[in-house]
């Protein structure tokens, strides 16, 4: 061994010695407790109880708390490492089908915790509560209707998930696992004599069952929707439709309002005699623009209640009304038909009185609130063709000012017309 080789050997030994010495020093970032679960539970002791529940979220069970939480800092509540949608989708992305046609809003909003406990639960799929109880905690109105219905539908009792996918559906609307009518004919076999007889031999297996039946329960026999059109109740489908043996059995015998006039001639003729029409009455769809021809949940066979129905076309008006601080009571309550005739009228804005003043005074006693002249003899100073009426000072839907006045102060309001008093 030459002196050079000896130097190299000694140097190597020194380096190895130094490395071993360094390795022996404490790592300042090493967890005191190597088991992450134990480390977290050291402070979050209440989780002991959670872990005893029947269903524990796998990452919790495995002690992978940092799978969802950042142990140091976060921009999200509960030190979550991202927003809930991202965190849950990281593992559960497939709960929503790729080409979903409907997605549960809470899922779309990333509100998974509205249904699931992210740590543990006594209910399967770590749900917050069991079965329909959970669904009806949000869908309260439906829950009440189901509980009060005289005639129930057994799949509803078995659970909403019998027909609906709680996350999303790539089959159709309303989170249905199978589209209508397939979801119905799975149980209600349309090829039986009883089924066909009850449906007057019309091939309803190709139709929409929910246009007549309420799948959640009803006070009507055969789960018919609460408001039933007489020909449906009387099983005289052929009063409106072609014969069941026809090549087009669901075609109506006449188009639009002409079909409805067969029975509702007084109403239709009175409407057509008006100077102004609500145009959907006479468009190709006619009455069914607003009314369900078979059955409906709402009175008068309306498709939706109150202003919700009007919103279908008049969304802009309802949006403005919603933003109006001082609203007119009927408007706020969604009673558009309190002032407007839904079929037709002789007045502008489809009001069902000969004039605005006549309309307003059906509820308001004008004599009690002002001595200002109105109506025929009160010529508007701004325009000789106009007469002063309630809308000269108020807006019938509402304004930002008290009493739905057009201006904030009397001075501003009065000088709209009485300009000589303008300061």
């Amino acid at each position: 061994m030459g002196p050079r080789l000896m130097i190299v050997g000694v140097s190597l030994m020194v380096l190895v010695g130094l490395h071993v010495a360094a390795s022996g020093q404490q790592n300042p970032y090493r967890l005191k407790e190597p088991d992450q679960k134990k480390s977290c539970l050291a402070c979050h002791g209440d989780f002991d109880q959670k872990l005893k529940k029947a269903f524990v979220h796998a990452p919790v069970k495995n002690g992978a708390c940092s799978g969802c939480h950042d142990p140091h800092v976060s921009s999200h509540a509960s030190l979550l490492s991202a927003d809930t949608r991202q965190i849950c989708a990281g593992c559960h992305e497939s709960v929503v089908p790729a080409n979903a046609k409907s997605v549960h809003k809470v899922v779309a909003d990333g509100e998974c915790r509205k249904c699931h406990d992210p740590h543990a639960s006594d209910h399967k799929a770590i749900l917050l509560s069991q079965g329909n109880t959970l669904c009806f905690s949000c869908h309260k109105e439906l829950g009440e209707a189901v509980s009060k219905a005289k005639y129930g539908h057994s799949p509803v009792q078995q659970g909403c998930v019998t027909c609906h996918d709680p996350h999303g559906s790539d089959k159709g609307s309303d989170l249905l696992k199978t589209v209508e009518p397939a979801v119905c004919v799975g149980c209600h076999k349309p090829d039986t004599a009883a089924f066909q007889s009850r449906h007057m031999n019309y091939p309803v297996a190709r139709a929409s069952c929910t246009s007549c039946h309420d799948p959640h329960g009803s006070n009507q026999p055969a789960l018919l929707l609460n408001s039933v059109h007489a020909p449906v109740g009387n099983r005289t489908c052929n009063a409106c439709h072609e014969a069941p043996t026809s090549a087009t059995p669901f075609a109506t015998k006449r188009p639009g309002f002409e079909l409805c006039r067969g029975c509702h001639s007084d109403m239709v003729n009175a409407t057509l005699a008006k100077g102004r029409l609500h145009w959907p009455v006479v468009d190709g769809r006619g009455c069914v623009s607003c009314h369900s021809p078979h059955a409906a949940k709402h009175d008068k066979l309306l498709e939706s209640p109150g202003a919700e129905l009007c919103r279908g076309c008049h969304a802009d008006t309802l949006k403005r009304i919603a933003a109006t601080p001082v609203g007119h009571k009927p408007v706020v309550e969604g009673a558009c038909v309190g002032c407007h005739s839904p079929h037709g009228s002789d007045g502008v804005y489809l009001v069902d009185q000969p004039s605005i003043v006549k309309l307003c005074t059906t509820c308001h006693d004008y004599e009690k609130h002002s001595a200002h002249p109105i109506e025929d003899k009160a010529v508007d100073p701004r325009n000789k063709n106009l007469r002063v009426d309630c809308l000269s000072c108020h807006n019938g839907h509402g304004t930002a000012h008290k009493w739905m006045l057009l201006n904030a102060t009397n001075l501003e309001l009065c000088t709209r017309c009485h300009k000589k008093f303008t300061r």
Binding site: P255, G256, R276, W279, G284, C313, N385
Partner: protein, 302 residues
């Protein structure tokens, strides 16, 4: 010298590209006059129709009074105001003139289109003979285009029916699939039929000899915030009258938003629930200012 034509083309393209939108955007309305009375001093009442034609012809559908009024508006001066009141017309709403000055009006109470002579004598009601099923026609609006072809927006049949000057059926254009509700139509100088969906806020056009409507641009909801009552076309601009909004919007032929003119009010130059709008060859604009019970005249400055 080879580069000269190219430079010219580039320059022309730049100028065209510059002038096009600027010209359209510069279009604005300057108030000229207002029409309040007939020749006997009787005031208008909720007029919904107004038609303008050559030689200053102006016909007003004085809907609330159940009559038509014939005026002339020439060189900034209004004359006439002759009353036309006939039993065949109870509530004239939309009014149109053909190239011969004949008057057509949609009676909104009887829901039929009545044809009158230029002097206001009754000639006929459109019978829609030969129109394919459904046989019932409920006119919502109508417009007369080149060749005096009458285009009727049939609410019941969800179509536009074209009739020749003699009232004979020419063709039917189905309304586009998925349309909300078509309120109004117009025919431009080239004979293209323009249509507006007042619910979904979309414009459509059908070529003069076309068989279907195609969309112009996209959703207009951002600019068209209330229901439209009328559309009019002039020199590449599609004007849309907002009823509740009481404004006049301008759109390009591609549906692009160009301008918003006028606003709700009672002063002259302001509107309250305007209805029909007409533009003549002198760029004079006549608007039936319904809830102000007057017709307003504007100069369109491009």
């Amino acid at each position: 010298m080879k580069s000269a034509p190219i430079a010219c083309l580039v320059a022309a393209a730049l100028v065209a590209g510059h002038l096009g939108p600027v010209t359209a955007q510069a279009a604005r309305l300057r108030h000229l006059a207002s029409v309040y009375f007939d020749d006997a001093g009787i005031g208008l009442k909720l007029p919904e129709g107004v038609a303008c034609g050559g030689a200053g012809r102006l016909v007003v559908g004085d809907t609330g009074n159940g009559r038509l009024l014939r005026f002339a508006y020439q060189d900034g001066k209004l004359s006439g105001g002759t009353v036309v009141r006939i039993p065949q017309v109870l509530a004239p709403s939309v009014v149109q003139l053909n190239s011969k000055g004949d008057i057509y009006t949609l009676d909104s109470r009887q829901r039929r289109i009545v044809h009158l002579s230029p002097e206001g004598e009754f000639k006929a009601s459109l019978a829609f003979d030969g129109v394919p099923p459904p046989g019932t026609v409920v006119p919502r609006s109508f417009a007369i285009g080149p060749g005096d072809v009458i285009h009727v927006l049939d609410a019941f049949g969800r179509r536009v029916v074209a009739l020749d000057a003699q009232g004979k059926f020419q063709r039917a254009l189905p309304l586009p699939d998925g349309i909300g509700f078509a309120t109004a139509l117009a025919v431009d100088a080239a004979g293209n039929v323009l249509l507006i969906d007042s619910i979904k806020r979309r414009l459509f056009s059908a070529a003069k000899d076309g068989s279907a409507f195609t969309p112009i641009g996209g959703d207009l909801s951002e600019s068209l915030t209330t229901m439209p009552t009328c559309i009019a076309a002039s020199k590449g601009v599609i004007f849309v009258v907002e009823g509740t909004g009481s404004t006049i919007l301008g759109f390009g032929q591609d549906g692009s938003f160009l301008s918003r003119q006028l606003s709700l009010g009672w002063e002259e130059g302001e509107l309250n629930h305007p209805s029909q709008m007409c533009i003549n060859d002198k760029d004079e604009v006549f608007i039936a200012d319904r809830d102000n019970s007057r017709i307003q005249v504007f100069q369109l400055i491009r």
